[in-house]
Point group: C2
C-alpha cells in the first residue's frame, strides 16, 4: 500500500475501511481488544478514582523536528493524565484523515504512536477512522483525537493547598515544541532546527510522586508557562513571582524568540511539567528531576507570593517587575 | 457572541479560548468535573468490566432533518456502548472547529448534545477545542470526537454462541439516517424530507437485556445492515438468510433508494440495533421492542443458517436468493 493515497471511501465503513484497518492500523497497534473489531474495547477497573483526558491534535505541519502528530498526540495525552497524578491505563484513538494523504505518511504517524505506546505499555482499546475532503490548496494532513484513561495513584491537594513561599519548578528548557513547529512552518533554521521537546512524562512524574508531596502539577502546552501560571492564580488569594534569569531557555529558542518577538513563556511545550511544592522540598524535587533523562535541566523558576494576588509577575535580573498576562493566543495557531 | 464567527485564535489556548469555554461550552455543559478546568476529569469506578468507545463525527452538512452533528455524536457513542451491553457512565468530547464557523451554529450543536446528555444523565467530564483553517470554498463546519466510558451490565456470549436457527431482529425501519443526510446534501425532497433516525438507544437496549439473553448486538451505522451482517459472518461457520419482504423500509427511503440506485441495506442508521437471539426468544424480544417508542417497527428480519457459511443471503418474496456483499463504501461518504 506504500505509494497509495487516502480516498474518501477509506472512511465509509466498507471494504476499503476494513483494508486500511487490517493492513495498516492492526500492523502497528498489536492490541487484543482492538483486533476484536467491536464497537468498543473492554478494560477491567479496580475500585477507585480514574481520570479521562481528551485532546484533538491538529498540528500543522504533521512532521517536525523531534516528532510528528502521532508521537505528539500520545505524549500529550500521557502528560495530561500525568498532571492529574494518573497512571495511563488505556487509550482510544480517533483519526480524521484528509483525502489524498499519503498512506506512507499515515503509516509513519501510526508507527510513531505505536513506539511510545509500546514503551509506556499502554494499550489502544478503541479506535475510529474517518476521511474528509482535502482542504483547498494545502497538502493533505490528518487530525488525531487521543483519549486516555488513567488510574489516580495519589490525591494531589491542588490549588487550595498552595500558600505563599511555595516553590515553582519546571523540568527543563521552555518553548521548544511551539518554536519547532513554527520554524518548520516558516522554513526557518532548517540546517540546525529547534527540536520539539514532545515526550511522555509519566515515568518522570511517577518518580517525583513517589517521594514528594506535590501540591499541583500542570503541563504548559498551548499558552505555555504564561497560560498555565495565569490559570493557576486566577481568582486565587496569591500571586506568582518568576525569576527571569533562572527560567531555562535554550540558545536557539532565545534566538528565534528575539527574531519573531514572541516570548518563550507564551510558547507551547510538550515535554514539560510545572510543579508546585512546599519550599522544604525544593532541593529534593530538583535532585529527583535532574537525575532523570527528562529532567536534566530542571530549575526552580519562581515562588508563590501573598502579594500580587491573581497575577503572574516576572522579575528581571535587575529587580524590575512586569506582569505576565494570559496569552491572547493569536501568535501560534495549530502547534498541537 | 451570537453573530460572531470562530477565529483561529479561539483554539490557541489563550484568552479567546477561555472566553469560548466559559461563555459557550460551560453554559450548556453543566458538569462539575468539566468546570474545574483540569487537564482531565475524574470518575469513580467500581470493580468490574468497563468499555471505551470512540468516534469522530464528520457529517456533512452538520444540520439535517431530525438532528445535527451534536445529537448524532452523542447518540452514536451511547449506541456503541449499548451494543457492548454497557451503560454509559461518562463522556469526553473533542471539538475541531473550522475557522469562520458561526458561533450561533456551534451553540446549536452544543445545545443538542446537552439535551441528550441531560436526558440520559451522562456527564461530560473532559473536553478539548481546536480550530483549523477553513477548507477552500466550503462553508465552515466542525468535527466532534465523542469518547464514552460504559459499565458492562451483562456479559454477552457474542459470535461464538451463535448457531443455526437463531433469529435476527432489528428495532425498526432502515436507511433513514444516511438517506436523510444524503438528500439534504443533494437538496432532494426538501418539502417532505427523510428524517434521520439518530437517537440514543441505551434505554431500549437495557429493556431488552433485562429480559432476554441476547447473544450479539450491533448498531448498523456506516455500511448499514449489510456491513454489520457481513462482519458478523466473516470467518464464521454460519451464514445469514435475510427475508426481503419483512425488512422494514419506509416509503420515502424506498423512493430515494430507487431514484439513486442505492440499496437501503447498505445505508447508515443511527437509531437502530440488530439483535441475534435464540429462536425461542423471538416473540419476547419483538414484544419488548414494539412496546418501546424506539422499537415500534421492530421486525424479525432473518435467521442464522448452517448453509452459505460466511455469506449474507437476501431471499426475495419469490424465493430467489442473492448475496449481500460488504459495501465497498464509495456511495455515501461523510454521513456520520
Amino acid at each position: 500500500m506504500m505509494k497509495e493515497k487516502i480516498l474518501i471511501s477509506h472512511g465509509s465503513g466498507g471494504r476499503l475501511t476494513h483494508t486500511l484497518i487490517e493492513n495498516l492500523f492492526h500492523r502497528y497497534f498489536h492490541f487484543e481488544e482492538l483486533k476484536k473489531g467491536d464497537d468498543g474495547g473492554v478494560f477491567f477497573a479496580s475500585e477507585g478514582k480514574y481520570v479521562i483526558s481528551t485532546d484533538s491534535y491538529v498540528v500543522d505541519p504533521i512532521f517536525f523536528p523531534g516528532g510528528d502528530i502521532g508521537s505528539l498526540s500520545v505524549s500529550g495525552t500521557i502528560n495530561d493524565l500525568a498532571s492529574m497524578a494518573a497512571k495511563p491505563v488505556c487509550f482510544s484513538v480517533g483519526f480524521v484523515l484528509e483525502e489524498g494523504l499519503d498512506i506512507e505518511s499515515l503509516e509513519e504517524v501510526v508507527s510513531s504512536m505505536a513506539v511510545i505506546l509500546k514503551k509506556e505499555n499502554i494499550p489502544v482499546i478503541a479506535a475510529d477512522t474517518k476521511v474528509v475532503e482535502n482542504r483547498g490548496n494545502k497538502s493533505p494532513g490528518l487530525f488525531i483525537n487521543t483519549t486516555g484513561i488513567g488510574k489516580v495513584i495519589k490525591n494531589l491537594p491542588g490549588k487550595k493547598a498552595i500558600k505563599p513561599g511555595d516553590t515553582i519548578v519546571i523540568n527543563g528548557t521552555i518553548g521548544e515544541h511551539g518554536f519547532s513547529v513554527l520554524s518548520t512552518r516558516l522554513e526557518l533554521n532548517q540546517d540546525d532546527p529547534i527540536v520539539s521537546d514532545a515526550r511522555p512524562l509519566w515515568n518522570l512524574v511517577n518518580s517525583v510522586l513517589e517521594e514528594i508531596p506535590v501540591k499541583f502539577m500542570r503541563d504548559p502546552t498551548r499558552g505555555g508557562v504564561a497560560g498555565v501560571l495565569n490559570e493557576l492564580v486566577k481568582g486565587m488569594d496569591f500571586g506568582i513571582l518568576l525569576y527571569e534569569e533562572v527560567i531555562p531557555v535554550g540558545n536557539k529558542v532565545q534566538g528565534i524568540s528575539e527574531l519573531l518577538g514572541i516570548d518563550p513563556l507564551e510558547v507551547a511545550n510538550e515535554g514539560k511539567m510545572i510543579f508546585v511544592v512546599d519550599k522544604k522540598y525544593s532541593q529534593d524535587i530538583i535532585r529527583i528531576l535532574t537525575s532523570h533523562p527528562d529532567g536534566r535541566d530542571a530549575q526552580i523558576i519562581g515562588e508563590i507570593t501573598g502579594d500580587y494576588k491573581g497575577k503572574v509577575i516576572v522579575v528581571n535580573p535587575y529587580g524590575a517587575k512586569r506582569i505576565l498576562h494570559m496569552p491572547l493566543g493569536e501568535q501560534l495557531p495549530r502547534i498541537c
